[in-house]
């Protein structure tokens, strides 16, 4: 097989990702060596210590190889030496932008093993916090994606909104990123007085500011020129690579476990899943904006449904999950988060396997960037939303 054949295959996305040996391309007098360009681990576009090595011919990318693991912290092993209360403080740190949703997954898993009934009010509060957390996460990615395309302002506007929401969540949980608000059987402490009124106010405020993002980013001709038809992802490829969340919804498939497999009280309210058409960078961004609006709708519904009553229950001194195993999946902001919890009946899990959305989503990057230009590759990197801690764990 000649080099050109290999290149042709790579461009069509059929060849497996080979090694990174520099190969010669071209013919006759125009033989040139490919350039290997390492984006990361400390590059502004990878927001974190993610690294992709591009093999390039000029500005065109022949193949890409994500290199992960720079932030491996051994979460799964650490969890085996923590009791369930300590795990709550641990798991909100792997995807630091969706701390509450991560805690929620573990709490649900333990409750499922204990066959514990969670008070209704606690479930509504958990949903409320999870949706606010989702908005926080999406705002961050709206800002950072626009920033990667060179638009600086959306980041500042997004952080203005984030500040309001973080202040709101802090008043109830005490944290701005690592909320540690869940506990097995409910939440730690009830909401402070006036929280729901404040939540409604922030929801209204955030909703009133959403058109700014439409006008500033989504409707902008330059933005459209940079994202429409860039890195389209077909649904079947997305599914075979395990892509979930906004990146999957952008391909047109509304697979959202809040709808298809409702947990908490999501079955009692209307959850709309915004979808895109062909899964390009533009669709991924549009879906993200749509999800913020949906989350705001959900929050308004939760305010109407909120019941009174207890928010937690009396726990034994040491919570011990019974022997056995369970798998819980929740719709994290970035996609499907799964926890496989296996217990031998002790105070710590015997095994806690994490299926994190970012890890699965970055698997699509080599497929998406092949044959693209460097600026488009950056646009793709920014639109496959990931958090480095969530990849490496």
């Amino acid at each position: 097989m000649s080099d050109l054949d290999v290149r042709e295959q790579l461009l069509q996305g059929t060849a497996p990702g080979e090694g990174l040996a520099i190969e010669l391309v071209g013919d006759g007098d125009l033989v040139t060596a490919d350039m290997s360009l390492s984006i990361g681990p400390a590059h502004p576009a990878t927001h974190g210590v993610f690294r992709v090595v591009f093999e390039m011919d000029g500005e065109r990318i022949l193949r890409a190889k994500p290199v992960i693991g720079y932030m491996h912290r051994g979460f799964e092993k650490l969890a085996e030496y923590r009791d369930y209360r300590q795990i709550m403080a641990l798991v909100n740190r792997h995807d630091w932008l969706s701390g509450f949703s991560n805690e929620l997954g573990v709490a649900l898993a333990v409750e499922q093993m204990l066959e514990m009934e969670v008070p209704e009010r606690a479930q509504w509060i958990r949903m409320l916090m999870a949706e606010w957390n989702r908005i926080l996460n999406h705002l961050m990615f709206i800002g950072s994606f626009a920033l990667e395309l060179g638009a600086i302002t959306p980041m500042f506007y997004a952080f203005r909104e984030r500040e309001d929401i973080q202040h709101l969540m802090e008043s109830a949980t005490g944290g701005r990123l690592h909320f540690t608000y869940n506990q097995v059987g409910g939440v730690k402490i009830d909401l402070p007085r006036g929280f729901l009124a404040e939540s409604a106010r922030v929801s209204k405020l955030t909703r009133s500011r959403m058109p700014d993002y439409d006008d500033l980013v989504l409707g902008n001709e330059i933005f459209r020129g940079r994202t429409v038809d860039i890195g389209p992802l077909p649904t079947d490829v997305a599914l075979s690579l395990g892509v979930t969340g906004p990146a999957l919804h952008a391909t047109g498939l509304a697979e959202d476990s809040r709808v298809t497999e409702p947990y908490l009280k999501y079955g009692d309210i209307d959850v709309e899943v915004p979808v895109g058409r062909n899964g390009d960078a533009y669709d991924r961004f549009a879906v993200l904006l749509g999800r913020i609006r949906v989350s705001l709708d959900i929050i308004d519904q939760i305010h109407d449904h909120m019941t009174s009553g207890p928010v937690n229950q009396k726990l034994p001194k040491m919570v011990k999950a019974p022997e056995g195993a369970t798998y819980v999946r929740t719709e994290n902001p970035l996609g499907q988060l799964g926890y496989w919890l296996e217990s031998d009946g002790g105070r710590t899990p015997w095994r806690l396997k994490m299926r994190t959305p970012s890890f699965s989503n970055v698997q699509a990057i080599p497929y998406l960037v092949q044959g693209q230009l460097l600026p488009d590759a950056i646009s793709i990197l920014g639109s496959v939303f990931f958090v480095v801690g969530d990849i490496d764990r």
Binding site: G175, L191, G194, G219
Partner: protein, 227 residues
């Protein structure tokens, strides 16, 4: 998606940004203006050492093992003639290494005698990492900054302690009202005092953050009367 006139998107972008030119900046002028932090903010852990019984629960539950406790036993002679003398744990050292702490709040949560509290204070950055090891005196000073906890939401259940206290005071009232009116009034007063003592911890205190002086006063009422 409807086709629009080319350039409208560009003009809208200009309009959105110029709209913000006239608005008030949202920047908080931090060192000049204090940030408005919620009472539940996990800023720093404060210690009220007089409440500590050296039960070591916090130290054992800490996921980072960043709490250091030293103590010795002391024997207390019996108050009554011929009674057995009792031993008591005396706290010698209580230190939290904030360079290790991950601010999870488990120690505050597990403390059975309300010796550990969260304070929203956050200005204790140091040039040297050793400075982040706060010994007992420093932790005690933070206790002056602990705000009163916010009241709970209207839909919330009253905390178990409040329910207990109310039941207890009702019982005292009931018992006191039978023999004499005067004793009943005393009992009611005692019950009210008890509820007041529990108040700040259980979400019945004022919502706003108390200034230092009131906080100190509130703390003194909160001190359990162990002696």
């Amino acid at each position: 998606m409807s086709r629009t006139i080319p350039g409208t998107g560009l003009l809208k972008g200009l309009a959105v940004t110029i709209k913000h030119l006239g608005q008030r900046p949202v920047t908080q002028m931090y060192p000049h203006e204090r940030p408005d932090l919620a009472p539940r903010t996990r800023g720093v852990i404060a210690l009220m050492d007089e409440n500590c019984t050296v039960c070591m629960l916090c130290s054992r539950e800490c996921p980072d093992w960043c709490i250091y406790i030293d103590s010795h036993k002391e024997s207390v002679p019996s108050a009554t003639e011929g009674g057995r003398s009792r031993t008591r744990n005396v706290l010698d050292r209580f230190a939290i290494d904030f360079s290790l702490c991950m601010y999870c709040g488990i120690c505050v949560e597990v403390c059975p005698f309300d010796a550990l509290w969260w304070s929203p204070e956050f200005e204790y950055a140091e040039y040297s990492i050793d400075g982040l090891l706060h010994e007992m005196g420093r932790l005690r000073e933070w206790a002056d900054t602990v705000p009163a906890p916010p009241m709970l939401d209207v839909g919330a259940d009253a905390p178990a302690e409040v329910v207990d206290a109310i039941a207890k005071s009702d019982k005292a009232l009931l018992a006191a009202s039978a023999p004499a009116v005067g004793a009943g009034a005393a009992g009611a007063a005692a019950g009210a005092a008890g509820a007041g003592a529990l108040g700040p911890r259980l979400g019945l205190g004022p919502r706003r953050r108390s200034p230092r002086s009131t906080s100190r006063a509130a703390r003194s009422t909160r001190r359990p009367t162990t002696r």
